[in-house]
Symmetry: C2
Subunit: 98 residues, 2 copies
């Protein structure tokens, strides 16, 4: 099981992830970013790309799909918050959208 | 633009939709149901089925995809809450999961 990232590690990681925010929900910190699209179909396509990334890494985010936007939330439930793996997954999610 | 369903119409509709709840968020009522699955892949497959249904009807829900569960939320933003179309979409979503 991964260890929680320290606050310093998270702050350092966020320098490479300027679009991501840290929010605490249900007592655990999460990395959250919203991606915008022109319609529902494009949003759902991105959801599937993030889903493929998740399956490849056996680490799964929460994904909110709506008309024109997708919100991705990465955290590690077992660790109780954000781990270095979550920071890496956020970076890979950015690459999908690039 | 569809009219909002009356409270009576919503109550009547919910009799056929026992798994759905009405919740008010951002000042608008929504129909919400959570569907459970055995893993992430099955959850994402269901998200795509709901997405196809949405595209066919040109009416789009909010879909939250997580490991082992999908939450679907139907409402009509322009009408400002739940319309008869939303009640129909909820029923069709149930059929996808049946």
């Amino acid at each position: 099981m991964d260890k929680l990232a320290t606050n310093e590690e998270i702050e350092q990681g966020l320098k490479q992830l300027p679009e991501w925010q840290v929010r605490k929900m249900d007592g655990m910190q999460r990395l959250i970013r919203q991606f915008k699209f022109n319609n529902f179909k494009q949003a759902l396509n991105f959801t599937n790309q993030v889903g493929d990334l998740a399956e490849q890494n056996n680490h799964h985010p929460l994904i909110i799909t709506e008309w024109g936007k997708v919100t991705v939330e990465w955290w590690s439930h077992q660790a109780g918050g954000i781990t270095s793996a979550d920071l890496q997954m956020a970076a890979q999610t950015d690459q999908l959208a690039a």
